[in-house]
Amino acid sequence: MNKEIFRIPMPDKQTIHIQTQQIVVAASKQKVSFISYLKSMHQQIGIKHLFSDRSELIFAWITAIILSGLFLVKPEPSQANVHDMYGFIFLISPVLFLTLSLYTYSNKIISGTFEVEMTCKYNVYQIIAFRMLIFSVIAIMFNTMTLVFMSMIYEDVHFARAFMISSTGLFAFSILILFAVMKRRSTVAAAATIIGWTLGNLLLIYMDNPIYRDILVNLPLFVYALVFVGTLYGYLKSLNRFIHFQYAEGDY
């Protein structure tokens, strides 16, 4: 009996590579970009449901009012040091954002809704990441308004510089807190970040270090702009990672 021998030509390396890629792409889940993920969350969840409880809204308003009050009880314009002002802006810029984000998280833990919400299509971390982004926009708007008033009251405070310092402070702090939550996986690490941020900045303000003062007052604006863009990029990257963060029991 004549045996028919089939000869299958061995594909070249490039063909192997292309076909392997095609198989992998066809088999693996399409990775949704950060922007389109946020877009679909916005469409499906909307802004209304970002506040799961009315008490969160009340809490947000109280925090905003207290923060405004803090700015109002600042020293007389003649007695104010401009570097202290900038240091204060850097320290306080993430406070509204922080309280809004932390309150949400603790409210879910206290109400016992954490587990149910973790098993929803958009889980607690994804919602918090989405809210953080929205809240950071709200915080920037609030900070900007406050800075406009400050630059009107205090002649030495320049709006552009103050805006850069404030936004850099907000994003730098957000990167730190997200890092603490994702890498250290503990409430203690998150609390330590908040305390560290506050004490560290207070120390720098009251030590009146000339280098720190120089950075705040004399650093060229374009350098600030670069730092601002860098922290914004780092913040968005951290948020993207947070969206895919995997919860492990006992973390919080």
């Binding site: 799961s52 109400s111 016992g112 149910v116 299509k121």
Partner: protein, 291 residues
């Protein structure tokens, strides 16, 4: 179909579950074990709340952790302690959860109306939940688990706080739902699953003891369960000699249901074993420790 492949869970040196392998198809599965046996650990792994230390859980061939939101979109989950926001009404809360489940508002309103009717809460749909009884809260919990018409429904102690009438209604609801989906009910109350479960999974010493139909599990004790009547004075001696399942005082004497794996004595009546008998027999040590 869900396949649990050689799954173990460790917390430090403590082993909560050891090398569990299960294959689960559409229908009702009753996960039965005393408190602390590892039921909730398994349930939480199936709900992606915790990840296995070893092994994997796959749904239609895909690892449920890798499926991420794709799996959660198929999942309905009622935790052991169902939490809620005090100031919300069931309608508001269910609308909020429907949004998190990625459901459109129009569909959500229609489905919520139907679900509230199913769990007999239509009349209090707009009332604040802080005024609700435990049973009413539990029914909101059942409704939220069904919101997205899940393909996999996982319920951890779903009948806690429900009265007998509500329990019966819940069992009927589950039977109806299980026709085209996988339902896993974790409980330590035998009657919750005895009549409706296609299969019962019993966990003992962190491993699967049985995964079989109620009938087959009951047959493991066939010919060993008896009933008899003894004097009250002989009770302690009887308890020491046999595994007593049930004691009932009647006209100054004790009616005893017990297990004996040997020849029957005179006056003993051989009876058909129930799932509760198997449960009490297999977990006798754990139950004694709880007492």
């Amino acid at each position: 179909m869900i396949v649990v492949k050689n799954v173990s869970k460790y917390y430090g040196n403590f082993c909560a579950l050891n090398n569990i392998t299960l294959e689960l198809h559409n229908g009702v599965y009753g996960l039965l074990a005393p408190n602390g046996a590892g039921k909730t650990t398994l349930i939480k792994m199936l709900a992606t709340l915790i990840t296995p230390s070893q092994g994997e859980i796959v749904y239609d061939g895909k690892n449920i952790i890798h499926m991420d939101d794709e799996f959660r979109a198929l999942l309905g989950y009622l935790p052991q302690q169902f939490g809620y926001y005090n100031n919300y009404s069931p309608k508001q809360y269910l609308l909020y959860l429907a949004a998190l489940k990625g459901m459109g508002r129009k569909d959500s309103i229609r489905i919520i109306k139907e679900l509230l009717e199913k769990v007999a809460l239509s009349e209090v749909g707009n009332k604040k939940m802080k005024k609700f009884s435990g049973g009413m809260i539990q029914r909101v919990g059942i409704a939220q688990a069904l919101l997205n018409n899940p393909k996999v429904l996982i319920l951890d102690e779903p009948t806690a706080g429900l009265d007998p009438k509500e329990r019966a209604r819940f069992r009927n609801l589950l039977s109806e739902l299980a026709r085209d989906r996988l339902v896993i009910v974790s409980t330590h109350i035998v009657s919750d699953v005895e009549s409706i479960a296609n299969e019962v999974i019993m966990i003992k010493h962190q491993e699967v003891l049985y995964k079989d139909s109620v009938e087959n599990i009951c047959n493991t004790l066939a010919g060993h369960v008896y009933e008899t009547t003894i004097d009250y004075g002989h009770l302690d001696a009887f308890r020491n000699r046999y595994t007593v399942l049930l004691e009932k005082q009647e006209s100054g004497e004790m009616n005893i249901r017990f297990i004996h794996k040997g020849a029957a004595a005179e006056g003993w009546l051989s009876v058909t074993p129930s799932l509760e008998d198997v449960f009490l027999y297999e977990y006798r040590d754990e139950i004694r420790m709880e007492v």
